[in-house]
Structures are given as structure tokens and as C-alpha cells.
């Protein structure tokens, strides 16, 4: 069975016990993203301290891949600057476009921590969107948060 290559234990752990779930105050931006092909949804808030991501809080519904992805992302981005976090997002995107190429995954292992477990998802084009939804939401929310906080300054 190939299922195990997609549903790594790390993914199932994040799915069952998501990190950072729930919507919290304070926040500078809130976004709502959906995956229109399947109806997966996430509402995400970003709280910045200067240009450091102090908190990402979220609520959502969706498949194990989309829910585990947002949880693993939470672990990766808290405490990073927006630029660093989005850089990590680019690497995650690269992983998702790797079509299961082990060499690509190997090179990204240190950077992506738990999120490297999503390498198996890259073999299933229909599921890549599920894994990327939360990263798209983060990109959107942090851009808005930055512009809100620069307006406030």
C-alpha cells in the first residue's frame, strides 16, 4: 500500500492533535481562504511584533492533509520574521512541486522540519492544493498585517 508514503505518522499526529489551533487576540489581519474544488476552509489571524510573527491562530475544516499542514506551518513560522517565514513557504512550495523526487526533499529537510513529511503528498497533484492552502493564507494575512501595522506607525 502506498498510503503510508502520503500519510506519514507525523502528518496524522498533527491532524489528530493540531498545534496552535483556535482564533486568538490580538491580531493585525484575518483572512479566510477556501479550496474551491473541495470546500476546505481556513480562517487565519496573524499577530506581528515589529516584523516578527508573534502568533498565527486559525480555525478551519478540511482533510487531514490541509489540517496537518496548517499545524506544521504554525510550528515553523512562529518567531520568524515575515520574510523568513515566507521564504520557508517558498521552500514548502518547492517540495510540493517535487512530484515525489527524493533529492528535492533531502535538500529541504533541515529547513522544513516536520513539514518535510508532506513530501509524499507531492506525488498526488489533487492533494497538493490541500497542503498549500494554509501557506497561501499566511502569505495573504502577513502581507495585510504588515500594511496595517505600517499604516498604524
Amino acid at each position: 500500500m502506498q498510503l503510508q508514503s502520503m500519510y506519514q505518522d507525523i502528518i496524522l499526529d498533527h491532524y489528530r492533535n493540531p498545534h496552535g489551533r483556535g482564533l486568538r487576540d490580538p491580531f493585525e489581519a484575518e483572512v479566510h481562504h477556501v479550496n474551491p474544488t473541495c470546500g476546505d476552509e481556513v480562517t487565519m489571524r496573524v499577530h506581528l511584533d515589529g516584523d516578527t510573527i508573534a502568533d498565527v491562530s486559525y480555525e478551519g475544516q478540511g482533510c487531514s492533509i490541509s489540517q496537518a499542514s496548517v499545524s506544521a506551518m504554525y510550528d515553523l513560522v512562529i518567531g520568524k520574521s515575515v520574510t523568513e517565514a515566507l521564504g520557508t513557504g517558498e521552500h514548502f512550495m518547492t517540495l510540493m512541486q517535487s512530484k515525489g523526487d527524493a533529492a528535492v526533499a533531502e535538500g529541504l529537510e533541515d529547513e522544513l522540519e516536520d513539514a518535510i513529511a508532506f513530501a509524499g503528498v507531492s506525488k498526488y497533484p489533487a492533494r497538493v492544493k490541500c497542503a498549500l492552502m494554509s501557506w497561501m493564507a499566511l502569505k495573504d494575512a502577513s502581507a495585510r498585517a504588515l500594511s496595517t501595522s505600517s499604516e498604524a506607525n
Binding site: 500500500m1 502506498q2 498510503l3 502520503m6 500519510y7 496524522l12 473541495c38 478540511g62 482533510c63 498526488y124
Partner: protein
């Protein structure tokens, strides 16, 4: 939700009306394997159906022997291509019990519906008075239902936005049926058109169209029936149906992609202005202005999808040879069996009618604790193709409070082995995700 946990396990396998093994041999794709050598269990005909060899042969025959643009040119190929194209129109007409001049070829159901929706708004500004009869404008109402596929919802929403008309809809009952309690107020003197599906692509419900059509005609409204999920699966005779338009897609009835049908009552079609304009649909063209051909040519602008039309006629012939009544009975037996087996699994909830009364073979369900995408992934790993998501009927899943469903759909090559594979696959998904509910013999979940 209560459900009986009985274990039919093979007990209810009455002989199927169709010879599944013989039919499977007609479908080349069913010989391939998927996901490391597994037999393909194709339970996604509702999205698009597989094609029998006779359909593929018909398309190849057209290209290899008579390929030319129909209705253009005077050479022999053009004549033969025209004859083949028009013979296909006659075949589709006969399939529906309609005269051939009421058959318009389009790209698919979506385009057929858009054709009517645009014709109704074009009617308001038509320079020809005879085309204004069905014009839709401010103060008019269009009625749909909450059960519609997006293809039979968005064109009407857009028509209302273009014209200032108001969109109204019939709601749904908890058991997956149309709520007709307010039919007489929702469909009223202001109603210009009622658009309703004959079979729901997500709930499987077969709608009681008679009463709806009677009420619509009582107030002078037109009725468009979305037959995308009914025409492939049951006998549909347009005279018995009594509607004004019927739309369906070739690719869901064993035919090629890229061809669909709009059937319209001739007097109604004749009173409508065109949707797309260009070659083939004209009478006289001058720089100052043009006049249009009579239906059906008025609605077939441009060189048509000839080979696909020929393929669609072959699909209709294939279904006719099987017998549409038997096709329907076949699916009904399988649907009854599948509903029984699926609902016997603790944690599985069918979204839609729980039995085969006025119901087709689209079975949507949820599995407690396992998201439909994950159910679909486990099934895919076993070689079983189903559809997951909101099935282009987002308001329906919203109405039933679920984010998405897993949907299995049946067709002429579906057998008990396919349903058994599905049922076992759902159990496998529960095991994989560790949500096998504790079963006490004879208890409920």
C-alpha cells in the same frame, strides 16, 4: 441518526438486469489497472462516463472516411459529413421521442443552459419583435432549486444580474427531497422560467417534475429540465416530460466529451434570438445587418463538433440496444444493495434518500471522523475511483451541514463486485484512520 446494523453480506444479490461481464468487455479502459496493478473500480460515471468501443469506432470512422465540415461545401465528403451529422441528430431525436429539428447540439449541459439564459436576456434587446416574446427583465422572476448543479444555478444568477430579474428557489427537505410546500408562491405570475434538475448529481433524488411543470405552465412560465444525470440513466421522453427545454451532456452517457444537447419545443426555440452568432446560423448577411436561420441551425454557430456528434449517436444506439428501462433497473438494484451495505457500516451516513424510492444511483455519504478527501484517497489506493468534494453543488452540502461528501455513481458496467469493493474500501478507510466504531451486534453507532 439511527441505522440498522444488519449484515446483508452478499445475501441480497439478486441477478442483475444487465450482463456486466459482457458489457465490461465493450469498454477498453476497464482492462487497464491502476495504482500498482489493481483492477479499476470506476464509480465516477456521474462526473464522466467511460466509452464503449462502438463510440470510439464511430469517431474514428468519421475522421477516417467522411471528415469534412457539415453544411458547407458541395463536394462528396461535405455531403456525406452533413448526412452523417444530420442522421446523428435524428438518432438523438428518436432517443428522446422528439422531432429532429428540436435537437440543438452544444458543447455540454453547461453550454445548453447558458444558451437559453443568454437567449432570454438577448430577447429584451432584440430588434426583431418576434424574438421578444420571452424577454426577461425587471420585475420578472426565475425559479431554481437548492439542489441544482452550479451549471443550472450560475447562468440564472447571472441572467438576473444582467436583467434586473429576481432569482427565487425551492428549498430542500431533511431527507434530500425538494420542499414543494411553497411551490405555488415561489412559482407565480411573475415567474418567467423554472429551471430544475430531474436527478440530483449529489443526492441521487429523482424529482417529481409533473407538478412543478404543471404549476409553471399554469402561470405561463417556461420550464428547463437539467437532464445531465437523468438522460444517461433512465428513459426520458420529452413528450411525456412536458417541459420546454431539456439539456444533457454526451460525456455522461457513454458519449464523447465536447458534445451536449439542448432539446427545445420548436415553437419556443423559434421565438428565441441566438446566443452565439457567426457562420452556419444565418439566413442573409449584409453589412447593415443580418437575419438568422430557423432552429436548430440558429443555435449552432460555427463548424460543429461533428465527430463527437457521430460518437454521441453511437452512444445512444448502445444504450438503446441495452434498453434504457433495463439500464435504470440495473442501477436501481445496485443502488438498493449499496445503500443497504453502506448504511450498515457504523459511522457512515448517506446524504440523500436512504432507499431506492424515486432515487437514482448517485450515493453521497460521509464517514464519521474521516474527511471525504481522505476516504477518497484510501479508495484510490485500492483502485476505486469515486468523487469527493462538493460536487459542484455547494449549496447542497451546505444545506446538509457537511463540508463535502464522498460520492459513488453507477452505470451499465457496474457490478456487485464494484459495490463490494467500495464497501470494503470504506471500512479500510475507517481502519486506516483509526475510527472503527465499536460495534455491538445488533446495536447502533
Amino acid at each position: 441518526m439511527t441505522q440498522t446494523v444488519s449484515r446483508p453480506a452478499g445475501a441480497h444479490q439478486v441477478p442483475l438486469p444487465l450482463d456486466v461481464e459482457a458489457i465490461r468487455a465493450d469498454f477498453p479502459i476497464l482492462t487497464r489497472t491502476v495504482r500498482d496493478g489493481k483492477r479499476l473500480v470506476y464509480l465516477d460515471s456521474g462526473a464522466t462516463s467511460q466509452k464503449p468501443r462502438s463510440v470510439l469506432d464511430a469517431e474514428r470512422w468519421f475522421y477516417e472516411n467522411v471528415n469534412a465540415a457539415p453544411h458547407r461545401g458541395a463536394h462528396q465528403l461535405a455531403e456525406e459529413a452533413t448526412a452523417a451529422y444530420e442522421a446523428a441528430r435524428a438518432t438523438i431525436g428518436a432517443f428522446l421521442g422528439a422531432p429532429e429539428n428540436e435537437i440543438v447540439f452544444t458543447r455540454n449541459s453547461t453550454e445548453s443552459i447558458n444558451l437559453v439564459a443568454y437567449a432570454l436576456s438577448n430577447a429584451a434587446t432584440a430588434k426583431e419583435p418576434e424574438f421578444r416574446r420571452y424577454a426577461v427583465g425587471q420585475g420578472d422572476e426565475i425559479v431554481v432549486t437548492e439542489m441544482e448543479h452550479h451549471a443550472n444555478l450560475l447562468p440564472w444568477q447571472q441572467l438576473c444580474e444582467r436583467t434586473g430579474a429576481t432569482l427565487r428557489w425551492l428549498g430542500l427537505t431533511d431527507d434530500g427531497r425538494l420542499d414543494l410546500s411553497d411551490l405555488d408562491t415561489v412559482v407565480n405570475e411573475r415567474t418567467k422560467l423554472v429551471a430544475v434538475t430531474q436527478q440530483s448529481n449529489i443526492l441521487g433524488t429523482i424529482n417529481p417534475l409533473g407538478g412543478i411543470i404543471a404549476r409553471a405552465h399554469e402561470v405561463g412560465a417556461l420550464v428547463l429540465v437539467d437532464g445531465a444525470q437523468s438522460v444517461p440513466h433512465q428513459k426520458v421522453d420529452v413528450t411525456e416530460l412536458g417541459a420546454d427545454f431539456l439539456v444533457f451532456s454526451g460525456h455522461k452517457m457513454l458519449g464523447p466529451t465536447g458534445v451536449g444537447v439542448l432539446w427545445g419545443r420548436y415553437d419556443v426555440l423559434d421565438a428565441l434570438p441566438p446566443f452565439l452568432t457567426g457562420g452556419s446560423m444565418i439566413e442573409v448577411v449584409r453589412m447593415e445587418g443580418s437575419t438568422f436561420a430557423a432552429p436548430p441551425q440558429r443555435f449552432e454557430a460555427g463548424v460543429p463538433m461533428s465527430a463527437q456528434v457521430i460518437g454521441l449517436a453511437a452512444a445512444a444506439d448502445y444504450l438503446t440496444a441495452l434498453g434504457m428501462d433495463r439500464v435504470q433497473q440495473h442501477e436501481e438494484v445496485l443502488t438498493g444493495y449499496a445503500l443497504e451495505q453502506l448504511q450498515a457500516i457504523p459511522g457512515v451516513t448517506v446524504i440523500g434518500p436512504p432507499d431506492t424510492v424515486a432515487r437514482g444511483g448517485a450515493i453521497s455519504f460521509t464517514v464519521d471522523g474521516v474527511h471525504p478527501h481522505d476516504v477518497g484517497q484510501v479508495l484510490d489506493d485500492l483502485g476505486i475511483a469515486v468523487r469527493v468534494g462538493h460536487h459542484c453543488a455547494w449549496p447542497v452540502v451546505r444545506r446538509y451541514g457537511v463540508p463535502a461528501t464522498t460520492r459513488a455513481t453507477f452505470y451499465v458496467h457496474t457490478g456487485y463486485d464494484d459495490v463490494d469493493a467500495l464497501v470494503e474500501g470504506v471500512r479500510e478507510a475507517q481502519r486506516f484512520f483509526g475510527v472503527v466504531p465499536a460495534v455491538t451486534e445488533g446495536g447502533t453507532n
